[in-house]
């Protein structure tokens, strides 16, 4: 097992390096001189400019700049500093809780609603509730996050006024609409996936055995049917957690949540290269780690899989 983890981590290294290198290169290519942008309209002496260029390694060749940066990230957790002199890790620390809260709310929503809908749909197969789940998931899966976010904001935020439409002033309550917007598509996919898996499991021989053992229907469904059907669901939810990173940019922007997604979007527009690189590096690392955890979780859930 340990060997497997180490091998996987080693495999990830080139991916992490290449992905961050691309982003670093693109930010490097961003139009405009960052030092001049920093100075704004004020005049700046050549001496000051030189010092700044040195401080940010701007005169080094590109690959050396990148090398110094990534070395700092892995050895000292140093994600660089903004040109205003503020450490990027500071910004990350300040913004991370918002994004994590949003991710957690999303995860809970899609877990509860997706699984409940999938189970009901499978148990009451071809009845009204199943048809309802089927139709609504077909529609939701086929909508872009952008549209869902706006629809929720318009209906439940503006029209009905049940939830705040922007900011985090009302604490966890402010995360409900954004959470639903982020969760909607995945919830529908979980419901559809679980329905198929559970229907298959309920027709399997081992579920028939459980019934023949005199187990109650509820126990047959949860202990024997669901236990097996949840394996692909957990994998899906894990992989989806990684893809939430992209969704968070859109949703945090629409609902004006001060998280990492909204920060990276603003920094791109404000051409704060170091912030963009810092946050993207963090995202890529998170993606890699989540994927590894999902793989390991898979082995825990399905004893037939062994990584030797």
């Amino acid at each position: 097992m340990t060997g497997y983890i180490i091998r996987r981590l080693l495999q990830f290294i080139p991916v992490v390096i290449a992905a961050t290198l691309i982003v670093y290169g693109l930010v490097f290519l961003m139009p405009g001189d960052p030092i001049r942008a920093l100075a704004g309209d004020r005049p700046m002496s050549d001496a000051v400019r030189e010092t700044l260029r040195e401080q940010y390694n701007l005169d080094d060749p590109f690959l050396l700049q990148y090398g110094k940066y990534i070395w700092g990230v892995f050895t000292a957790g140093d994600f660089g500093t903004t040109f205003q002199g503020r450490p990027v890790s500071d910004i990350i620390q300040q913004r991370l809780p918002v994004t994590l809260t949003l991710a957690a709310v999303t995860f809970v929503i899609q877990g509860i609603i997706g699984i409940a809908a999938g189970v009901l749909s499978a148990i009451f197969r071809d009845r009204f509730i199943d048809r309802l789940v089927q139709v609504s998931t077909v529609v939701v899966v086929a909508l872009p996050v952008l549209a869902i976010a706006f629809v929720l904001q318009l209906i439940f935020g503006l029209n009905l006024g049940w939830f705040p439409i922007a900011g985090t002033r009302e604490g966890l309550y402010s995360y409900i609409l954004p959470g639903f917007a982020m969760a909607a598509v995945s919830t529908a996919m979980i419901a559809r996936l679980l329905r198929g898996e559970l229907i298959e499991a309920l027709q399997s021989d081992y579920v028939r055995t459980a019934t023949a053992k005199g187990m109650r229907r509820s126990r047959v469904i949860t202990r024997h049917g669901l236990r097996n059907s949840m394996i692909p669901i957990v994998t899906f939810m894990g992989a989806d957690l990684a893809s939430m990173i992209g969704g968070s940019i859109v949703v945090e922007s629409i609902f004006n949540l001060p998280g990492l997604g909204e920060q990276v979007y603003r920094s791109i527009q404000a051409q704060e290269g170091t912030v963009v690189v810092g946050i993207v590096t963090l995202f890529v690392l998170a993606f890699v780690v989540i994927n590894l955890i999902v793989d390991l979780l898979y082995a825990v859930l399905d004893p037939r899989i062994r990584y030797d």
Binding site: S204, Y206, R208, T209, A212, G214, M215, R223, I231, D302
Partner: protein, 353 residues
């Protein structure tokens, strides 16, 4: 009212201790599909007494597994549908019982072993958990106590190092060991009736014999009624007391095991016996029964075996023969049962030749 033990508990719920253990009376089971109604079981009758082994013999599609599932109450409904008849356990009709009462019979009084233990055992739960579950659900045992019982059962069915292996998963066992675990699970609560659906078909020949021996021992020890469902005449001979031969959802012939081997009273049974490889007939071609069983959606009006029967006449094609006695404790559903039984009748081709 809760039943945790029997037979004390079973008496309370209106069971008749003097009645036969299990009676199947004119059972009809159909499958309603888009392609039409498939009549899987058509008026099946048999009786099983305590301590008795009844072998139900038949080809694929003869309705033997459907019968087993109907007794257990694990038939998929729909498309399955019980179209008539009764199954009585100790005199009480299973079909009249509320579902909760039937559930409490399953695994406790009537238990079942499936053919393919690998797919019949839950792949993601340890075998010990799956055995212990019987005690936890039906007896209300605590986790640890149930686990101890599971280890004991595993030892009883001959699994080496049971204590070490109780936490292992089904895929970590060999085919024979898996089937032993299946058996341990089925006999955990000392059932009166044990249904074994092709228990050895998926196993190697040497392992087959061991598993059959184990089943026989357990049956004798607990005085169980054992229903052995198989297509293999060879498996049956050593173990069974009675044999019922099924074809197209009906019993074609039923008799004592020695009687049926010595003097079959139905052309179908005769055909099955002749298709067995024999040591003393080396080099001869095996006599397979020509043709295929009828489609269950379209069973011929007369004797269902008539299209394949070498003895069939016009009468066989129009009139369905009843299951009638040919000798003491020996019944056959053939118009010419007497002649077959005494060996007088010749197949048509030979007669014409």
């Amino acid at each position: 009212m809760t039943t945790t033990t029997h037979p004390a508990g079973t008496e309370q719920e209106g069971y008749d201790a003097s009645a036969p253990l299990l009676e199947v009376d004119d059972l009809h089971v159909e499958f309603r599909t888009k392609a039409g109604v498939a009549r899987a079981v058509n008026g099946l009758n048999f009786t099983l007494n305590a301590g008795e082994t009844l072998a139900i013999l038949g080809e694929s599609g003869s309705g033997k597994s459907v019968t087993a599932q109907t007794i257990m109450g694990i038939l998929d409904m729909p498309p399955g549908h019980i179209a008539g008849g009764e199954i009585r356990y100790r005199g009480k009709n299973l079909f009249d019982m509320p579902e909760e009462q039937r559930r409490r019979l399953r695994g406790v009084n009537i238990s079942m072993i499936f053919q393919d233990a690998l797919s019949a055992l839950n792949p993601v739960l340890p075998v010990g958990f799956q055995i212990a579950e019987m005690f936890r659900v039906h007896r209300g045992f605590k986790r640890k106590q149930a686990r101890e019982e599971a280890v004991k059962l595993m030892q009883k069915v001959g699994i080496p190092a049971a204590e070490k292996r109780v936490g292992d998963y089904p895929h970590q066992f060999s085919g024979g060991m898996r089937q032993r675990i299946m058996i341990a699970m089925a006999i955990a609560l000392d059932p009166d009736v044990l249904i074994a659906d092709e228990p050895t078909t998926a196993l190697d020949v040497t392992v087959q014999a061991q598993v059959m021996r184990l089943l026989k021992e357990l049956q004798t020890e607990n005085n169980m009624g054992l229903i052995l469902i198989t297509h293999d005449l060879g498996v049956v001979a050593d173990v069974a007391d009675k044999i019922a031969v099924m074809y197209a959802g009906r019993v074609m012939e039923a008799a004592d095991v020695f009687e049926i081997y010595a003097k079959p009273g139905h052309p179908y049974t005769k055909g099955l016996l002749e298709s067995l490889p024999r040591i003393d007939a080396e080099g001869e071609r095996l006599n397979a029964i020509p043709g295929l069983p009828p489609a269950l959606t379209n069973i011929p009006p007369g004797c269902p075996f008539s299209p394949r029967c070498p003895y069939s006449t016009e009468l066989c094609r129009t009139d369905r023969p009843e299951l009638l006695p040919v000798a003491e404790g020996h019944v056959s559903a053939c118009h010419y049962r007497e002649e077959i039984y005494s060996g007088e009748l010749k197949p048509r081709e030979e007669a014409q030749a």
